[in-house]
Symmetry: C2
Subunit: 274 residues, 2 copies
């Protein structure tokens, strides 16, 4: 007689990331959390018929199931019976489970940490992901870039001149503040998923606007932001992931490199400090 099978709970299963194959996109924010934690997960980006899995989830006939509303768009996370979407929401769910936020309970428990970290992640996604998408699709997501080039140029100039410095400056301030604690991280002196989000957002912006990011580095105004970027890149599991085939190239996704949209002399920010 064999030993009785252990009854698996509905959540004692790998995480399933459901996202478009072909570019890192918004799925990457979720992947980095899973990779940093060494979590067991599947990813439709690398699955046979991965595209079909995404399409069936966002089909306009999908009304969800008994407990889950349908998702509007990927990334989508399935974990046992749970199906959720929205990048920041997925990270909110994963953060405590993957040890990427301080514990809420116990002697040194920090039950409010999750809200502070979620706020930081949302702000990074707003300014350094959603707004970057709009630099090449300011008029309509359903049109080609070529059909909105003029507006893209105008939008990109504003991004490089005003929005990018605003968001980099904001995160520099967060890192200067006491709530960030010691070391390179955004909150509480320890790595959280907000750091991974900021890393990936800057990595994407660096691909899309290399000249603008180079000028931002040279300015010396955002030293702590780029220190954080470097520190995430050197995390052993992140380093291994970035060198692996699981890391996809940027290609016609949120982060796109159109040289004509990148920084020009006219928009060069004033250097300060050095």
């Amino acid at each position: 007689m064999s030993a009785p099978k252990r009854q698996k709970s509905a959540k004692d299963v790998p995480y399933e990331l459901i996202y478009w194959p072909g570019n890192p996109g918004r799925g990457e924010f979720v992947r980095l959390a899973l990779e940093e934690a060494g979590a067991d997960y599947t990813d439709t980006a690398h699955a046979e018929k991965g595209m079909d899995q995404v399409l069936s989830q966002i089909d306009t006939e999908n009304v969800g199931d008994n407990s889950n509303p349908p998702p509007l768009a990927p990334p989508i996370l399935r974990h046992g019976d749970l199906v959720i979407s929205q990048t920041s929401n997925i990270l909110l769910y994963l953060g405590p489970r993957l040890g990427l936020v301080p514990p809420a309970e116990g002697e040194d428990g920090d039950p409010d940490a999750l809200y502070r970290i979620n706020g930081l992640a949302l702000t990074a996604l707003d300014g350094l992901c959603n707004e970057v998408h709009d630099t090449h699709h300011p008029m309509a997501a359903s049109l080609y870039y070529e059909d909105q080039k003029e507006e893209s140029l105008r939008k990109s100039k504003d991004f490089v001149k005003n929005r990018l410095p605003k968001f980099l400056g904001y995160f520099q301030r967060v890192l200067e503040g006491k709530a960030s604690g010691d070391g390179p991280w955004l909150y509480g002196g320890r790595l959280t998923y907000a750091d991974l989000v900021l890393f990936q957002a800057i990595d994407g912006v660096t691909f899309a606007f290399p000249k603008a990011i180079s000028a931002a580095k040279t300015s010396g105004n955002y030293l702590y932001v780029f220190r954080l970027y470097d520190a995430v890149k050197e995390r052993p599991k992140i380093k291994e992931y970035l060198a692996s085939k699981r890391r996809q190239n940027y290609l016609n996704g949120i982060y796109r490199h159109y040289p004509e949209l990148d920084l020009d002399e006219e928009n060069m920010p004033q250097s300060s400090g050095n």
Copy 2:
């Protein structure tokens, strides 16, 4: 001898909403939750020097305090020692405290409900708030509408023709699905803060694009969405609030009415059903 004073916890204090005076804006999503719950709160929109309180929070010299990172933008919620920003994040914090999500614990506890509700709130805010802002400020938040009228017209046509039907159709589907339960609500057969968010978003879009919303109603494609809107509006505390002076008029905020951006014949969606 008087009775010993009860030691107040840091959270045993009113909620403080910190938001621009002058229009409902994103603060309104938070206000409706507080009002529906009958919560004790203060609001800088109605305070002397309310504007100064917002400005000092988002000052570029503000680096936060020992435990809170600085906020980038309002709405901001202060509750005791906690200071958080981002609309969906504030609602995530308030939801369980105000009874606007199902309980996570206990016999019928639904610990995953919060993620489903947060996902719905985020999607409503994306499509029916953030994208609406971009219809009159598609090029730069820092410029006047008058300096981006042509692009606003192009963006608004896409909003009315593609985006608005996409998001209304999505929420109709959510309401048709089993996870919404019985009655008019989005999740679990009971009012949650996601319903309040959807109500306020539709109310704002109705102000900004009255002809487009009227056509959407007439189409018969979104009956459940407008049923939810009506059901929220009839909640006794919401009704009282909407009739009170605390409810501000829409004025040069996220939701603006520029008649030239509203539905024209060319963009009239195909009627289906009736």
